[in-house]
Amino acid sequence: MDKFSKLFADILKLWGKYGGSYLTGMRNTLVLALVGTVIGCIIGFVCGVLNTIPYTERDPLPKRIILKLVRVIVRVYVEVFRGTPMVLQAVFIYYGLPYFTDNAVKFTNIWLAAMIVVSINTGAYMAESVRGGIISIDPGQTEGAKAIGMTHVQTMLNVILPQALRNIMPQIGNNFIINVKDTSVMFIIGFPDFFAAHRAAVGASYLYFPSASVEMVGYLTMTLIASFLLRWVEKRLDGSSDYELVQTDQLTMTAGTYNHPNKGTPFDEHSLEYKEERRKRCGKGGR
């Protein structure tokens, strides 16, 4: 028991001294993860869309060659950045650029370097998620859109991508949470994230375990809040499960649509009016 109280005291001591740098680290981690995920998603969408442009042997040869080339490029990008550790990618890009240009080109802004690495890495994962999201949409949706004369681009923008986006929301959330945790490797290029705050704190205080406890709780708090927010966004995207029947002139209703206006339809239970009515009735009838 006294071990716990010692731990608690150590944590308080750490927080008193380094609380500010922990909090700054958390903010930096969240900003980096958020920006990296957003830009990564954009890269992923572009790659996923480019990768699923259909072509047939009826299309002209140049178009087919270009599309094939695009697919190969996207494939190489995905395989390389999905197949190597982000910590190495960071080192590779951060030190590789000055190495090859004799220090002519180098990252003067650590934020820029970190964001590029995280974005490119996330983009590689998202490219595959988006591709999966697009091919998971029922082909009937594409045919329905084609049948009213939509082009491929119109079909994608209006019909397929909105549905694909909804389907890959859990994947985007996954990536964001992974990024919150995995940006901890960015200390390797000196990015001041939450984990870097830990390294700084223990370097001075040698309180390894108490600081690690702070980190654990901190990361878990960030990811739990993120999960909660993502669920909320998903719910918003789903829209209301209710809808209201539009009241119209009963004489214009086609026979068979309604049996009788007062009888309503099986969907009336979803309508707000019905709920209102039921609430009133229950309020009166019940105790």
């Binding site: 009826r58 329905g144 009213i148 004369g149 209006n158 029947l245 086609t254």
Partner: protein, 246 residues
């Protein structure tokens, strides 16, 4: 021949080595209601999908007002906007409400203003009796209602000819009637229609031309009274007798 809308010449379609359609010839004139009947797998749906270029014919021509749309380099979307299609599985856009389903094509493809498209969509939704449900989403309405919306969506594009690919086959029996009655009233208003169907009563009573397909070829065609009353070919008689007995 000014009222000739579609003319199919020597159309063939193969999937690999399997020849689904062989040397199909037929025409659709303005105001025609043509029913295509035949057993499952006889190529009816493939024929309809070829006409809308959802499948690319292996050989042959599809002349739309004299222009071969099956040729290379033809802009399929432009052509499809003149030829409506109603699918067996409805294919309503799941991310939109009933009303948006009927508006989106008009705005994006025909470049109508949103308000004009809305008025137009409402007009056709009223015709199919779906006005009360314009704010519902496809997942919230029944199969018969979905199909009526799909018809309204196709009509809102003001197509010259409307293709129906087994529009009632995926419906519960009690919902077939509401869709057929919409189609019946369209036929009476002079809409040009090409209907792949298993509803023999519809083919007999509503259409003015019936095509019987068997194993990828047009086996027999003619006026409904002739084809149903006095079929010339043995295959047609066999096919029709299966329906009479049930």
């Amino acid at each position: 021949m000014a009222d000739m809308i579609l003319q199919v010449n020597h159309l063939s379609k193969s999937f690999g080595s399997h020849e689904v359609l062989r040397d199909i010839d037929f025409t659709v004139k303005k105001g025609d209601v043509t029913s295509i009947i035949g057993a499952s797998g006889s190529g009816k749906s493939t024929l309809l999908r070829c006409i809308n270029l959802l499948e690319i014919p292996t050989s042959g021509q599809i002349l739309y007002h004299g222009q071969n749309v099956a040729a290379r380099g033809v802009k399929a979307p432009e052509y499809r906007s003149h030829v409506g299609m109603v699918f067996q599985s409805f294919n309503l856009f799941n991310n939109m409400t009933v009303l948006e389903n009927c508006i989106v094509g008009q705005v994006k493809v025909l470049k109508r203003s949103r308000e004009e498209a809305r008025q137009h969509a409402l007009q056709y939704l009223e015709k199919v009796g779906m006005t009360p449900y314009i704010n519902a989403r496809p997942r919230q309405i029944s199969g018969g209602q979905k199909q009526r919306v799909a018809i309204a969506r196709a009509l809102a594009m003001d197509p010259e000819v409307l293709l129906f690919d087994e529009p009632t086959s995926a419906l519960d029996p009690e919902m077939v009637g509401e869709v057929l009655s919409v189609m019946r009233s369209l036929a009476q208003e002079g809409m040009t229609m090409l209907v792949v169907t298993h509803e023999m009563a519809f083919a007999r009573d509503v259409s003015n031309h019936v095509v019987y397909m068997n194993q990828g070829v047009i086996c027999e065609e003619g006026a409904p009274a002739d084809l149903f009353g006095n079929p010339q070919k043995q295959e047609t008689r066999d096919f029709l007798s299966r329906f009479r007995s049930t």
